[in-house]
């Protein structure tokens, strides 16, 4: 074990960082796209079905195929990391989009009514009422998306984008279970860690139901 760690330890560390970097950027882009899009859909609900449907379709494309599709594209295909980040972003869109939409739509209409009646502007209503009340929902979507992305990012190694998938693919090619585990265990641990951290954040924003009498 210690010999194994001695041999692969620094490589695992580098690849874990790479893995985090790919996932992190993808989550950042997905959040920047999906949260505003989700808010837009609550304003124009007739778009909700087609847009969420589209995100749904993106989700169903097999990841290896999506990486393959993106590879020949100009600019994108020049760097494997770009391909990986775009693909991961596409997978992260749906949970964030869906939860932002559902989170805001699920707010008690009475509360929104009062916010309007008190004279809050649309922007104030969004930032003081809607987003805080939907925050735990949105974070739950972010959490699902993150865990999915950490998993799918292992496949990004297939197009040469690096990450912990590198060890897994090498292990598969050389029939070396130790090497596969050297990639798989840190990837799983990473997913669990991020899941736990985001779960804590989610609970922090959770709104107690009005009927939970003390």
């Amino acid at each position: 074990m210690s010999a194994f760690l001695h041999r692969y330890g620094s490589e695992i560390a580098t690849l874990t960082l790479e893995h985090l970097w790919l996932t992190g950027f993808a989550m950042l882009f997905a959040t920047v796209i999906a949260v505003p899009a989700g808010i837009f859909l609550t304003r124009s609900p007739r778009w909700a079905k087609p847009v969420i449907g589209f995100a749904n379709i993106l989700q169903t494309i097999p990841s290896l195929a999506l990486f393959g599709f993106l590879l020949p594209l100009p600019w994108l295909g020049e760097r494997a990391a770009r391909v990986a980040i775009v693909a991961l972003t596409a997978y992260a869109l749906l949970p964030i989009l869906r939860n932002t939409y559902a989170g805001i739509r699920g707010i008690d209409p009475n509360v929104l009514f009062v916010a309007r009646a008190l004279g809050l502007t649309p922007t104030q209503r969004l930032f003081k009422v809607e987003l805080p009340l939907a925050a735990s929902f949105i974070l739950a979507g972010l959490r699902t998306a993150t865990v999915t992305c950490v998993g799918i990012a292992t496949i990004a190694a297939a197009v040469g984008a690096g990450g912990l998938g590198e060890l897994i693919f090498r292990g598969v090619a050389s029939v070396d279970n130790g090497l596969i585990l050297a990639g798989a265990i840190p990837a799983a641990a990473l997913a669990l860690l991020l899941d736990g951290l985001l779960g804590l954040l989610e609970r922090h924003f959770k709104i107690p139901a009005p009927d939970d009498a003390p």
Binding site: D108, V111, R116, L118, G119, I207
Partner: protein
């Protein structure tokens, strides 16, 4: 001096063609309390909502101090009118202190002023700020929540207070306490109030005049004593529906 509120031939028809308000004209004098009384679906809540334009009349005008509300900026209009609703009107993610001062926050008033006003108002509605300012709605009883709602409605020193069945969900004893508190409060701040209720007793206790609505029409508007003496069949029916149990038990 123009009246605090004047409804001029106000009608409201829903997009499905239902007539909820039918040509209502009514005047509310400065500093008085007017009760809109009626059974469910009589249009009293809809009429109340035309004042802060949460409902826009299909025809007719609502004037505040002689000024048609449709000419006033919507946000400014609403911030200048206190509004209390029956239940769940509090924001579940705000502590009482923040909720009470929300309108001041929306106006970007300084934090210290907001906190001071919030504490002052919580005390005015009978909640000790030291105990209640930091509580969330789910940590308050129904009556306490309504007190916070009332404090919030008064935060921006509105010249007009709209209350939509504010005590509807409370038990009779808590309700009576709240009515006493409201009466004292209204007398001390000289705010014009418009109160929606279906409770005749509450109407008689709090109102300077009682407007009875039925199926979107204004049946009559009278001071409490005259209301009780009125021979109008709609009023008689309303009076008879009340205290039936008490009458029967005594008989």
């Amino acid at each position: 001096m123009p009246a605090a509120i004047q409804f001029r031939n106000v009608s409201f028809i829903t997009s499905q063609g239902r007539r909820l308000l039918d040509n209502i004209s009514l005047t509310v004098e400065e500093g008085s309390t007017t009760v809109l009384l009626g059974r469910s679906g009589s249009g009293k809540t809809t009429l109340l909502r035309t004042v802060n334009r949460m409902v826009e009349p299909t025809s007719g005008d609502v004037l505040l101090h002689g000024q048609p509300t449709r000419n006033v900026d919507l946000i400014a209009l609403r911030r200048g009118i206190g509004y209390v609703i029956q239940e769940t009107g509090l924001f579940p993610h705000f502590r009482a202190e923040r909720d009470v001062a929300l309108v001041l926050e929306a106006q970007n008033r300084p934090r210290a002023e907001r906190a001071r006003r919030s504490y002052e108002l919580l005390a005015a509605v009978g909640l000790d700020p030291a105990t209640f300012a930091q509580r969330y709605p789910h940590q308050l009883s129904g009556g306490q929540r309504q007190r916070v709602g009332l404090a919030r409605a008064l935060a921006a020193e509105p010249s007009l207070l709209l209350m939509d069945e504010p005590f509807g969900a409370l038990d009779p004893l808590t309700r009576a306490e709240m009515q006493d508190m409201l009466r004292t409060l209204l007398a001390s701040i000289h705010t014009t109030a418009l109160l929606v209720t279906h409770d005749l007793d509450e109407a008689l206790y709090l109102g300077d005049q009682i407007a009875l609505l039925q199926e979107g029409k204004l049946i009559t508007c009278l001071p409490p004593q005259e209301f009780l003496r009125s021979e109008k069949p709609e009023i008689q029916a309303y009076i008879h529906a009340f205290h039936r149990g008490e009458r029967e038990a005594r008989a």
